[in-house]
Chain length 206, copies 2
């Protein structure tokens, strides 16, 4: 029974360097896409040599996979937090606000996923059609219930969710465009917060 096959717990150095590498990889992959990124860039950003990076991860692909899968749960978590018992409008507004804040605080993560999905999501297809789809269907049926009971205006729940994703992540993914068009002296996220609160208020009030 005492199978000695268990993987050894990571040493302190392993733990630190793996996270340093993933942090660097997040910066590089989100800015350059998978193919655009090089191991050298990641190594440089991590302050390590290339062979040393490859000592901790088997391959570039391995880094990328670890990064994506490690971030996915955190990224989708707010969707899980929607409370069927809560006040419908407030629940949606909270979700919008949280997603917008995530775009502001974690733009690299947003761009990482955007890049991946844009390229056809070669690594996420199963998850998209599986786990994610179930989560979205779950949230959508909560919305549908609220609509049925007259607590929300009649809108397509799935597209309501898409709209929240599109509107909030837009500010991270297209940040250069937003800033270039607005010019100096703007706080895009603050303005977006007001705009989106008003939008979903008008859209969803029965």
């Amino acid at each position: 029974m005492s199978e000695e096959d268990e993987q050894p717990r990571p040493t302190r150095i392993q733990q630190k360097n793996r996270s340093v590498i993933l942090e660097a990889a997040l910066t590089v992959f989100s800015a350059q896409g998978f193919r655009g990124a090089t191991i050298d860039q990641i190594a440089e950003a991590a302050g390590l040599s290339k062979p040393n990076v490859l000592y901790y991860f088997a391959s570039k692909d391995d880094i990328y996979r670890s990064l994506l899968t490690g971030l996915l749960d955190m990224w989708l978590d707010p969707l899980r937090q929607i409370d069927p018992q809560g006040q419908p409008l407030a629940e949606v507004q909270r979700y919008v606000a949280v997603k917008l804040q995530m775009s502001r605080d974690y733009p690299r993560e947003s761009r990482l996923f955007a890049n991946e999905v844009l390229q056809g999501a070669p690594l996420l297809t199963e998850i998209l059609g599986g786990q994610l789809r179930e989560m979205v269907d779950g949230a959508a049926s909560i919305f549908a219930g609220w609509i049925e009971s007259g607590q929300l205006a009649r809108v397509d729940p799935h597209h309501l969710i898409f709209s929240i994703w599109a509107l909030t992540q837009h500010y991270a993914d297209f940040e250069v465009q937003v800033r270039a068009v607005l010019g100096e002296g703007h706080d895009p996220y603050a303005e977006a917060g007001i705009f989106l609160a008003g939008l979903y208020d008008r859209l969803l009030k029965p």
Copy 2:
């Protein structure tokens, strides 16, 4: 005075092959991003040999630039078509509908620009802060006028435009995600058309 420095008009073959290459490049670049694309892939998609592609364009970069700049006007045209004399709500709804249709009919173009902006728009920064910004400001002040005269609800005009871009292009840029989440038996663009018409109706009616 008869400067013979003018560039020779392109032959029929030049004209055809250049456009064949750009068409192929659009497919490849939009699916792979700039760095992910290879000249071989473009050549293959165009049905030409790699050296032959480089006979018509000086470099990979040259292909990419020609493609982007050639498409930009077409892509931004609908924004110019907003008529200050028109019926405010109808003008916005028309713009939304046109942009959504463009996402459906020209998803490659949408993804091409999305890729470029995501990576920081190294080639478009001047245009974004210059020509595009002026166009957006122009449209925004039309909207502002309509709001002032009570024909539209009070919303931030710039973010109104961003919202239209985000919502419509989302269906092209994140198409795999949308389809994966919706599953079979859906026509995302048709559903989105209904959803967005309702959204902007509720948002903008005074």
